[in-house]
């Protein structure tokens, strides 16, 4: 199996943890994996991206134009920002939530109103998930990353659910395991 996944969002939203779970899934499947993440300045509310590639043998950690099988986006505009990297016919899952970038707040640019249209044009399948609300219902908005991942797990289908659950158990701090498994289930069954 080969998978190339882009996790995108706004600095501070928890893309890195979701990436770690995905990488652990690859590990559980005995695949080679590379996960490249951005630290530093962008983590301060900038646009952030975590890139994950798994397969027989992975050389470059970078995902380039037209290479991503899936884009998992924690925010609506960010889903569009990385469209160029999506494989023709690739899939997009995004959190249906808008966070205005400073350029919009200052009035330098409008928040685009044709994002859904663009996503539908470029992608094979687009799924919008009210992950913030779902996470709030769970009592912790930080679970939105695992909710999104739960949906992805179900949509890929080819990897046994236990492999995912096991990856969550290994990756998240022990006191949050139950909460995250519940989050995963909600995404999986969405």
């Amino acid at each position: 199996m080969n998978k190339t996944v882009l996790l995108v969002g706004v600095g501070g939203q928890g893309t890195i943890l979701a990436g770690k779970v995905l990488a652990q899934v690859a590990l559980n499947l005995n695949l080679d994996v590379k996960m490249s993440e951005i630290h530093g300045m962008a983590q301060r509310g900038g646009s952030v991206v975590t890139q994950i590639k798994m397969g027989e043998k992975i050389h470059s950690p970078m995902i380039e134009v037209g290479e991503a099988d899936d884009i998992i986006s924690f925010e609506k505009l960010e889903a569009q920002r990385y469209l160029a990297l999506l494989k023709p016919g690739g899939n997009i899952v995004y959190n249906d939530y808008e966070i205005a970038p400073m350029t919009v707040i200052t009035g330098a640019a409008p928040y685009p109103d044709d994002i859904e249209e663009n996503l539908n044009k470029a992608a094979g399948e687009v799924k919008k998930i009210p992950a913030y609300q779902m996470a709030e219902e769970l009592g912790n908005i930080r679970t939105l990353n695992i909710i999104l991942l739960g949906y992805v797990a179900q949509s890929w289908g080819e990897i046994d659910k236990e492999v995912w659950l096991d990856a969550i158990r290994v990756t998240v701090p022990s006191r949050f395991i139950d909460l995250n498994i519940e989050a995963f289930e909600r995404g999986y069954n969405y």
């Binding site: 600095g11 990488a23 996960m35 630290h39 966070i99 205005a100 400073m102 200052t106």
Partner: protein, 585 residues
């Protein structure tokens, strides 16, 4: 043993542990910070933050002279700060193995420049290893300690952001146990008086020559012969880009690159029909290969030789760039690439730096900045920083402007963070007192080194491992350095802060305002959230001028995003219509 997933930085920490390292020191800086943070999981290693890179380097140096294995890590520009001891250490050589990790940042993901620190290794005349992935990070660090002791010289392990921050599979080994050697005084080796230095200078060339011979046959400098119509010499992450882009090429992968193994390179060149050097940033290897005339040494005359004439010297390489430039394959075009408004990094909601820049902009101050989260005060809508050069530059630069423009004295404000003040601000402040700067200095004390991910510093009262540390008081330091007008204020009280800044700017005497408030991301005192009463909002947008990411305008009135607001309350001080109120619950 089983394989685990480690970032390059975590793998370097693991390598230090397996190599039996005794002492690890660093100053934080992206992309190097997690090296020391990961080392704290190995209690066998004494680990601590240094106040700056030179101090960290010299602490490690003392550990090495004392007979221990020591590692010091920093971002690329940190090596500029530590360069002075580095050049002398090359002369003296080491006692316990000494490894300097330089984390370079091609494409400047989090840096002010993209200098190629391989040139430092060449310049300082020390060993240089270039891992390409996490496994090599671990293996090369261990090897670097061996080589450092064998060749009696410090070794640089040079990584780049992609290597540092990419997680990959690593197989673990048991650590070796290294005894700390007994301390021995060694005047001819460890005291670089000119008479000794002249001898050490000669021995340095001899040590380098031996290292060059080793590099010719080192197991980490190896040929992977394949299709011989194209031969590629490469190192570091570029190796993986080559393997992905041109899997059929013959490759000479170099892991130990100073001094370059020119005989090995020549042997390789003679087996291929066309020679490329693929390296990020500077033509470090290419220039030396070219100077040695290697492309023309073979029996068949000169072979075609390519490098920076066709490959970019700026920014990171990628498989796409290599396919394009080497194989002539046109890069894929995106199916759809709609314009998206950029999302620059911003001061977080509740950031205590925000109010300062809001006021400095309104007071039309000329602001010399420094490096930290507060550098973001340069961006719109705060727009209030005039200069950013390097850590510690703010205070001396403000003074320099005053020297050539005395009429601007009442406008000048230098801003510097707490960690940066301890790093290299103190000497600048002493100098400003000594040389008669009359402007203002603001020390933005958010009680942490925030930008790099919240590291302790001498002012926070805690050590790297969370243990209690002496809490060094900035106000006392400032007074001791000779500043008479000093005050400490709260970042969230706009009126008080504004009065103070205005008064101190007007006063023709150096003054320091310490603005003290915990970083909002680690705050234990922030509670509650605010919201907008739509009916009261007159859409004057005064609250938008502070550039809080939680506050936006929906076309009719402003709104506060409850998922982002942390309740600092600065925005209500800007609203004259009572439209912003605290949530009740």
């Amino acid at each position: 043993m089983s394989k685990v997933l480690l970032s390059g930085n975590e793998a370097i920490a693991r390598g230090a542990y397996e190599a039996g390292v005794h002492l690890a020191v660093a100053y934080p800086g992206t992309p190097s910070t997690e090296i020391l943070e990961s080392i704290t999981q190995y209690p066998e290693i004494i680990s601590q933050w240094g106040s700056n890179e030179k101090v960290a380097f010299e602490t490690a140096l003392g550990g090495s002279f004392g007979g221990g294995r020591t590692i010091v890590s920093m971002k690329h520009v940190g090596v500029n700060v530590a360069a002075d001891p580095l050049f002398s250490l090359a002369y003296t050589g080491v006692t316990g193995g000494f490894v300097l990790v330089s984390a370079d940042d091609p494409s400047m993901h989090s840096s002010q420049n993209e200098q190629d620190n391989r040139l430092y290794a060449h310049f300082a005349k020390i060993g240089l290893l270039e891992p390409a992935n996490s496994q090599e990070c671990k293996d090369f660090v261990k090897l670097a300690f061996q080589l450092s002791e064998t060749f009696d010289m410090p070794f640089m392990v040079r990584i780049t952001t992609r290597v540092a921050h990419t997680k990959g599979l690593v197989s673990l080994d048991e650590p070796i146990k290294k005894e700390i050697l007994p301390y021995e005084k060694n005047f001819p080796k460890n005291v670089t008086l000119p008479a000794n230095a002249r001898r050490l200078r000669v021995s340095l060339e001899e040590r380098l020559q031996k290292l060059k011979e080793y590099n010719e046959t080192s197991p980490i400098n190896k040929m992977e012969m394949n299709d011989q119509t194209i031969g590629i010499i490469t190192s570091g992450i570029s190796y993986h880009y080559v393997k992905e882009a041109i899997p059929h090429a013959s490759i000479l992968k170099l892991g130990s690159t100073n001094p370059l193994p020119l005989n090995l390179i020549s042997q390789f060149a003679q087996q291929v029909e066309e020679l490329w050097v693929v390296e990020e940033l500077e033509p470090f290897m290419e220039t030396q290969i070219s100077a040695a005339n290697i492309p023309c040494i073979g029996s068949s005359g000169c072979i075609p030789f390519y490098g920076k004439d066709l490959l970019p010297r700026i920014g990171e390489l990628s498989p796409t760039i290599l396919k394009d430039k080497i194989l002539g394959i046109t890069p894929a075009q995106p199916v759809l690439d709609p314009q998206s408004p950029i999302r620059p990094p911003v001061l977080c909601p509740g950031c205590p730096h925000r109010s300062v820049f809001h006021l400095l902009r309104d007071l039309r101050a000329i602001v010399t900045g420094d490096i930290g989260c507060y550098t973001l005060g340069a961006l719109s809508p705060l727009d209030s920083i005039d200069t950013t050069i390097c850590m510690g530059a703010s205070i001396p630069m403000a003074m320099g402007i005053e020297k050539v423009h005395p009429e601007l004295a009442e406008k000048l404000v230098a801003v510097i963070g707490d960690s940066t003040f301890f790093h290299s601000g103190m000497t600048g402040l002493v100098d400003a007192v000594y040389n008669g700067y009359t402007g203002t200095v603001m020390i933005l004390d958010n009680r942490i080194t925030a930008m790099t991910g919240h590291q302790q510093n001498p002012g926070t009262g805690l050590h790297l491992d969370g243990q209690e540390a002496p809490n060094i008081d900035i106000e006392n330091i400032v007074k001791a350095l000779g500043v008479k007008r000093v005050q400490t204020l709260d970042a969230y009280d706009l009126d008080e802060l504004k009065d103070a800044i205005r008064t101190e700017m007007k006063t023709r005497e150096i003054s320091v305002i310490i603005v003290k408030r915990e970083c909002a991301l680690i705050s234990t005192t922030l509670t509650g959230k605010y919201h907008v009463i739509a009916d009261n909002c007159v859409a004057c947008k005064a609250c938008l001028r502070i550039g809080c990411p939680a506050i936006s305008f929906n076309g009719v009135h402003t709104v506060i995003d409850p998922t982002l607001c942390v309740g600092c309350g600065v925005c209500i001080q800007l609203c004259r219509f009572g439209a912003i109120v605290k949530d009740v619950n």
